[in-house]
């Protein structure tokens, strides 16, 4: 079984890695320092099991698990944490294992064995991390692509635009399709994005002016991308208010 270890502390990784290597049938294929790196390495090494620290800089373990659960064949996730805190209370996390640091070798062995006994559908059901309403924001948006799970930092997103069935996410390096609704995104990211049209939500931090296209038709310009987006009449007043505050 291939195991990926994700923890921001080098010594913590080292210890887990030592334990895993000492167990028969398991090997450490990669180590990651934060959630985003873990997802990238899951794409690359396709591990069966991920040992995931909860508190990490950048993207934490809970969010990483959320993104990973979007995968077709997600790895089994075993959370490791130093201290039981609000982080897990706010979430319904059905992880296969939940280990407290300093982790005991027996507990780790048990969790790994449990993970390796599960079949795929069981695993998929277990990995679901359901978010409680409005409890927090993701730091990244993820989409399933041919390369695996692709991540875009929310800070880098210029706008979301609803297009038929999907929502397209425009960021500095391109575009991504996700299976979410603008309404939920608007609720989750509140003040960072502003609604300018029935089908689009733009990042406040990249707003770069509003211009009159033809009489009565306004468009917004955004920093870093050439695209111009139509502002619908009923959103003009609200948008003006947001831009005045910038």
């Amino acid at each position: 079984m291939k195991v990926l270890i994700c923890d921001d502390e080098p010594l913590a990784r080292q210890r887990l890695s030592r334990f895993v290597e000492n167990m028969e049938g398991y090997e450490v294929v990669a180590e990651a320092e934060n959630g985003a790196e873990a997802i990238e390495k899951v794409n690359r090494f396709d591990p069966d099991i991920v040992l995931l620290d909860v508190r990490m800089p950048g993207m934490d373990g809970i969010e990483a698990a959320q993104h990973l659960s979007g995968k077709d064949e997600p790895p089994a996730i075993i959370f490791c944490t130093a201290y039981d805190e609000y982080a897990l209370e706010a979430f319904k996390v059905d992880a296969i294992g939940y280990l407290m640091k300093p982790v005991r070798a027996e507990d780790l062995g048990e969790a790994l064995n449990k993970a390796s006994r599960l079949n795929k559908s069981q695993m998929q059901a277990l990995n679901k991390v359901t978010q409680e309403e409005g409890s927090r924001r993701r730091s990244h948006i993820s989409a399933k692509t041919h390369k695996g799970i692709e991540l875009v930092p929310v800070d880098d997103i210029r706008y979301f635009r609803a297009d038929q069935k999907y929502v397209s996410v425009r960021h500095s390096k391109g575009e991504l399709l996700i299976d979410e609704t603008l309404k939920n995104l608007e609720e989750e990211f509140g003040e960072a994005f502003v609604r300018i049209h029935r089908n689009s939500l733009v990042a406040v931090r990249y707003l770069n002016g509003m211009e009159l296209d033809s009489p009565g038709h306004y468009q917004v310009k955004l920093k870093g991308v050439d695209d111009k987006l139509v502002v619908s009449r009923r959103h003009i007043a609200a948008l003006r208010k947001v831009m005045q505050k910038l």
Binding site: D8, E9, P10, L11, A12, Q14, R15, R18, E33, N34, A36, R55, M56, P57, G58, A82, Y83, E85, M100, K101, P102, V103, R136, R137, S139, V154, D155, E191, A192, R205
Partner: protein
């Protein structure tokens, strides 16, 4: 006269009520307990006055009744007025409050002394013939002296209470905020990891950790040489260094110090360490790329100034920034309380956000124990 009672009331007020209603130094005089105390003590005061006036063998019940009546009038009406205007007094400066209370008591005393004389004047005599300006003046002097004493007493009591509360809070908060469970368990994890690979370092972490905990479990008011506090900070940052690895760099700048100053200057224990902890906890840990914490000690005349600089967490989410500030605030409030308790005006803690840096400046006088 009415002042003696309040004196006693002040003492009473230190009890259960002190906790609910002690953000103003004039106590609430309107609740039933206060009124009962006022009445009883006024009665005792009237007894003293009568005894002094008439001497014992000639103790006159009629005299005692009249004195009591006058004292009760003055006491209860002054208390009533002060109690009514108390909400307005709250916003005034201490001196203005003292002055207004004194004025209230004096005017009240003058009015009731006058009314008292008028009431007891027998019908067959002209009021003017028995009106005694000296008696009123005498009452005013007694009222003024006692009022000043008692209001000053209230003030001192109040300040004492504030200081006690600040120290208690500081101690509680230092206990609460000191032992961050995460820090404990992460350190344990480090030790567990090092025992197999590097037992010597593991041993040192156990020693450093013990010292940190010993310091944080001590009762909060000890003074220690600056040097031991700095050593403690270094032990703490060694543990964090192991935990965060290359993500953390702590630079110590202590160049401008004359020899011996480190050992001689005394500061309250755990004054610096929480600030360093905040810098690492809020400035470095949330950053995947890590960062640098700079600690600079400067010799500024009578003061020592310590500046701690850390990067801002790179989060663009306002909610998280607020959360971090909240954690930061507890420790900062705690340190401010202790600075005020130890150094008064001279101890200062200021925090400022500049560009992408968070700057904490702590300054305190060079206190040397003789």
């Amino acid at each position: 006269m009415n002042t003696t009672q309040k004196h006693t009331l002040g003492v009473q007020n230190q009890g259960s009520e002190a906790l609910q209603d002690d953000d103003f130094f004039i106590p609430d005089l309107c609740n039933s307990r206060a009124v009962i105390i006022l009445v009883v003590v006024t009665q005792l005061f009237a007894m003293v006055v009568t005894v002094l006036e008439t001497r014992l063998p000639a103790f006159d019940l009629m005299d005692f009744t009249l004195v009591s009546l006058l004292c009760q009038w003055i006491t209860l009406s002054s208390a009533g007025i002060i109690c009514t205007v108390r909400p307005f007094l709250r916003n005034l400066s201490v001196n203005l409050v003292l002055l207004s209370c004194l004025l209230i008591v004096l005017v009240d005393t003058a009015v009731f002394s006058f009314v008292g004389q008028w009431v007891v004047t027998p019908e067959y005599l002209e009021f003017e013939s028995v009106f005694n300006i000296w008696s009123i003046l005498q009452n005013l002097i007694i009222a003024a002296i006692l009022s000043i004493m008692v209001f000053r007493y209230f003030l001192v009591q109040y300040q004492l209470r504030l200081q006690e509360r600040a120290e208690l809070n500081a101690r509680l908060q230092s206990l609460q905020s000191r032992i961050r469970p995460h820090f404990l368990f992460n350190s344990m994890n480090i030790i567990a990891s090092l025992i197999a690979t590097d037992p010597d370092t593991a041993e040192r972490v156990v020693e450093d950790l013990s010292e940190l905990f010993r310091a944080s479990l001590k009762e909060g008011t000890d003074l220690v040489p600056l040097k031991s506090e700095v050593d403690l900070c270094k032990k703490y940052s060694r543990i964090e260094q192991l935990r965060l690895g290359k993500r953390l760099t702590v630079n110590w700048h202590e160049v401008s110090f004359p020899a011996g100053l480190y050992e001689q200057v005394q500061i309250p224990m755990l004054l610096l360490q929480p600030l360093l902890e905040n810098a690492i906890y809020h400035g470095i840990q949330p950053r995947a790329e890590g960062g640098v914490v700079d600690i600079t000690f400067e010799n500024k005349g009578d003061l020592i100034q310590v500046t701690i600089t850390n990067p801002l967490p790179s989060s663009s989410f306002p909610s998280e920034t607020i959360k971090q500030h909240k954690g930061n605030k507890i420790a900062v409030e705690n340190i401010k309380n202790r600075l005020a308790a130890f150094y008064g005006e001279q101890g200062k803690l200021e925090q400022d956000q500049k560009d992408n840096e968070f700057v904490t400046v702590l300054s305190f006088p060079k206190t040397v124990l003789s």
